[in-house]
Each structure stands twice: as C-alpha cells, then as structure tokens.
Symmetry: C2
Amino acid sequence: MTAKGYGTKHSFTDLKPVQFEREEAGAHDVEIEVLFCGVCHSDIHQVKNEWSNTVYPCVPGHEIVGRVRKVGAHVKAHAVGDLVGVGCMIDSCRTCDPCRGGEENYCESPNSWLATYNGPMVPAKEADGQNIYGRDNTFGGYSDVVVVNEDFVLAIPAGLAPEAAAPILCAGVTTWSPLKEWGVKAGDKVGVLGFGGLGHMAAKLAKALGAEVTVFTRDKEKLEEAQRLGVTGVLEDDDKALEKLANSFDFILSTVPEKHDVNPFVELLKRDSTLCVVGALEPLKPIDNQALAFHRKRVAGSLIGSLAETREVLAFCAEHGIAPDIEIIPIQQINEAYKKVEKADVRFRYVIDMASLKDEKSDFGSI
Amino acid sequence: MTAKGYGTKHSFTDLKPVQFEREEAGAHDVEIEVLFCGVCHSDIHQVKNEWSNTVYPCVPGHEIVGRVRKVGAHVKAHAVGDLVGVGCMIDSCRTCDPCRGGEENYCESPNSWLATYNGPMVPAKEADGQNIYGRDNTFGGYSDVVVVNEDFVLAIPAGLAPEAAAPILCAGVTTWSPLKEWGVKAGDKVGVLGFGGLGHMAAKLAKALGAEVTVFTRDKEKLEEAQRLGVTGVLEDDDKALEKLANSFDFILSTVPEKHDVNPFVELLKRDSTLCVVGALEPLKPIDNQALAFHRKRVAGSLIGSLAETREVLAFCAEHGIAPDIEIIPIQQINEAYKKVEKADVRFRYVIDMASLKDEKSDFGSI
C-alpha cells in the first residue's frame, strides 16, 4: 500500500512531502486513517539525529489519532469506523518479564519495543545482529495511514475530542506513568520542571489527582499560563523563591527535553523523595551526591508508559475533562512549527490536522 | 577537663600530639575512656579540608569504643565500667520530624545533627547565624577521653570485641542503613562498588542477610580477599564481565569515597532497582539518564545511619559473628596509615589502639 506523508532522508534537510510503501494489514492488524498527529519534541531530536540513532528515511509522529478503515480477519478489539489512537509503541516481544507484566515500555528483548517510527528501540547492530521484529525502520504518524497490530491500538474514549486525545498518547502517558509509579496523591506537593508539552500535561494530571502543583519555567510569560491552569508558577532561576521551597516537595518531574541541571530542584525535595527525569535522554549535568545523601533523596528516570497506563490516562482525562492545550496546524507548517517548539514558543502542543495532506501542492517524492 | 589526642590546626600539616579542653560531663552526659578508634576515609577528607568545610583545629575520629568512667547524675542507660560506643553523631535537635521518627541522621534542624568531630553538620554561618548546639567545633575520638550525651552513647553487645566493634559504628551502619532501606533480603543479588572499609562491611552484612554478593574493585589483589569472604569479586574495568552482568542486580551500593562514574554500574541494575551512593559526597560524574529511563532505574544517596540502626547492626554483627577485618595501629602511625588508606592499601580498616597515647614521646602541644 502506498502511503503519503512528510519525512526526510537526512538530518540537515526540512521535512518534505514523501510517499512510501506500508505493508497491508495482516490478520491481526488494523488499518487506520490518520486524522491528527501531535508534534513531540522527540520528533525533532529524531529528525535531526540529535540522539545519534536516527534511521533514515525518517517519517516521525507517535501521537496518532485516527479512524479504523480496515481490520484483519482475526481482529477482535477494534471495528471499522472506531476512533483509535497509537502512541510510541507498535509492538513488543510479549514474552519477557516486563511484557508479561504489562510494562511493554520496559521490554527487555534484544531489540526492546518496536517504536512507532525509527524502528526497534535497539537496532540489530546493537543487538548482536538480532532483529525480532524483522524490520529495520518504521514510519510514523505524519502520514495519511498507519497499519498497527491490534494490541497496540487504543480505543479513544467518548468525550475526548480526537485532536486533543493525540498528545495524551505520548505527553500524557509519559507524565502519567511516573505520577502513578511514585504514588502521587491528593495533598502531595508536586513540582514540574519545564512547562511545555509534557510539563503542562503533568501539571493538569497532578492537579486532577489532588496534588498542589508548582511548575518551574524559564519563561516569564508562562507564569500567566500557570495561573490560568490553577497552579503555581516559579521562574527556574528565581533563587530566592527556590530557597523558600527547599525540602518541601513530595515528587518532582523534570520534563525538560535536553541536558539540564537537576541539582537546584533536588534541593526542593523532601527527605526520601524522588525527582524523576522524563524529558531528557542524554547525560544530566553532574548530580551532587551530597544533596542526595543528606536527605536520602533519589533521582530516577522513566520511559513513556505502558499500554495499560495509556488506557488509564485516556480514561482519566475523559472523566476529569482534561485535555492538552493545542494549536492545530496543517502539515505544510511543520518545519516552522519545529522552530517554534525549539524556542518553546508554543502553547502547549502542536497537533497536525492530517486532512491537510490532501491540499498538498508539492509532489510527494519517493523516500 | 584536659584531653590529649592527635589533631591538626591546618589542612597542610600532619596530625600531631595535642591537648585541649573538654567540658566536664553534665547531668545527662557520659565520660568515656577511649580504648579504640577506627580510621575512616572521611577523617582524611576532613583533616585535609577536601570537603571545604573543615573547622580547625581538627581532632578526628567517629568510630569510638571505650569504657564508661563517669556518668552524670541523671544518666540511666549507662553505668561506670560499661563498654560503649560513639559513632558519627553526638546530638541532634530531637524535635524535627526525622528526629522524632528515630532518623537523627536526617535531622532537619538549621544545624542538622551535631557531628562527633568538626562541629554541627551545618555551621552557623550557613544557618543564618543559628547555632542550636552552642558549639562551633567538636573534637573526636583520636583522644583519650570523650564526653557524650547518654542518648548518643551505644552499648556494645557482649560477643563483640571492642576493637572490632569500632568500625561498625560508621562503616557498619553506613552500609547497613541502605541495605535495610532498600529491603535487601535473602536471594537478592547485591553489588558493592569499592572494596575498602565500607565495601567489605557491606559485603559481609549483605551476605549475612542471605544476598548473593558481588564486589567490584580496581585492585586485582583484592579478588582473593573477595574469595576469602565468600563473595564474587569482579574488576571494575573488566568490561566483558560487566557486560554479562547487565540488568541483573537488585541493589548496588557504591562505597567509593570520591567522585566516580556510576554509569557502568547503573547498567547492571535490574529494572526498577536502585544504586545508592554512600561513599562520595561530591558531585558524581554525569549520570546517563537514558540508562535510568530505559529500565526506570534509580540513583540515590544515603547518609550514615540512625541510632536505632546502629544498635540494630551491632546486634546483627554480634548474632552473626560478623566483624570488620582490622589492622590495629598505635596513634603514632596515624599519618602513615592515612597514606595507605588513600592508596587503598589496608585490609580493611585501621583501628587505633588509644592506649598508645600513653607511650607518646613528643610533647602534647596546645590546640
């Protein structure tokens, strides 16, 4: 099947209209017409090879909401016409401990889980040549159609607008998972470092869990946004404000999507509490073990979320009327949008209206 | 009361015989004739001002075992003639949450706890001028006598030799506390990074808890020591061996007493498991958040242990016949011993026989 979308063959070029082949839906697969796809900061890291692991050609997009157009003979969970979503994963080994325990996002197979785009998380060359998925690359949701195994297709609950549901599939579950793992509950004081796509979802989710939320941002203008969301906003470099908050937080989530210094925020944790980093995948600036040791504090990482957690956060958002704040763009504005995301100049998540692909005036080049 | 001991007025001089004044025992204090004092790597850091917080003059020593010589009028817990110990703390605020919860080592008063030497953990100048202990400096166990509030004096259980009990008061409890906090139990796979004073106690304690213990050392000769202790020894830089151990440990304790790279050992943790740093108080080399995030791993710090934990580990050692491997030295060899500790050339803890002070031939200078 020929798919159309936006992609690139190189780290140094913009995304362009492309066409490429997708496999037809097998007996257990679902063919989905993509309606909306969120723009994640990871997409930019990946397109530009900033994690040094991009497989080209690259068609990004892992916050996909669409309509089921066709189902394989054995598909039971989904029917033609259903509104469904696909997040960061489209398969996992299903046999390792985490997979059997419902934590596919920590799949311990040689290739880890199969990412929605950019192929298996651990490519064959880093897995002693093994390739349990038989695929070297995968193409994401910046396209008109995706074909996904039914187990990794998620029903979108009634009450969630499709365009607003899209960012929940990555930004939502990536912040939800650690909030649940570290047991955030009503009355807890929760800090959110970074106030972008992930950060604003973290703030909304933690607030709906009953926590008292403070967001830390480097952008003065976003202090008003915090107020609008009903949470406290503090400038990251306001040392006096930070000093007053020392040893007061039950949990802090860092959503900053690049190397950063967590030490000033470790200081804000209560004894025995955790700062969890979900935004950055690179090495952190050196952590001061004195600050950890003196109050037995912890620094942890967390990676997206499981299928079960994704269903849970979708249901939670539907129930509590939580939706990300989005700006809808046509795919033709994607390169401009990337520049704005890099400058943190978006409130708070771009979502591509994939119907715009039909208006494309340039040729769809082969990939 | 005039006390004699070994101390220094500067970071650049050796320890020398000194005499200094100690307060007489008050109604709640115990006067202890020091029999033995362990030599902790912290003593060296402190004497040389390597943590930039040393208050001079400095008389180190916080692994003290001695005989009660005198008790204040209201002392109930100890009697003249008792064999007792004093560890890293000689007081705490007793009113903050951690103190009331029996975790004095995390005292949250403005001055934190009162260290056995080098005064309050947080000096007045860093506590907005506050000084709840009314003392700017304290003098440790490299001396003939100490005077300590009865609550911070620990009974040494029958069955523990006094010289062997000394290192349990710091090296023992500092490793015991995190083993208990992170729930190490029979059958767990425990890694110990660094195989010195703390490391060898961690290995013995974890083994007695039923864990399968691996120690990581940079010293080939210590592999035999590991064998003698009945634990597995692996060279820190044996990449092939480390590779085979990936994702296999339930808990790893780093006892390396200086800045080091924990990343190769984070790789060895199982999903959701913790590497706890007790040896170093300085910033760690940058932590790779990718390694943390991909298996939701955690890095934590832990600081010595509480009074209750100290009693617990003393009892555990007595019950299981665990004692540190020590080399007894006269105080006159302390400067040479420091050099050997810095080269990790000790099996595994120096303990000073304080009776040697009586043989001192040099004058005891004023401090």
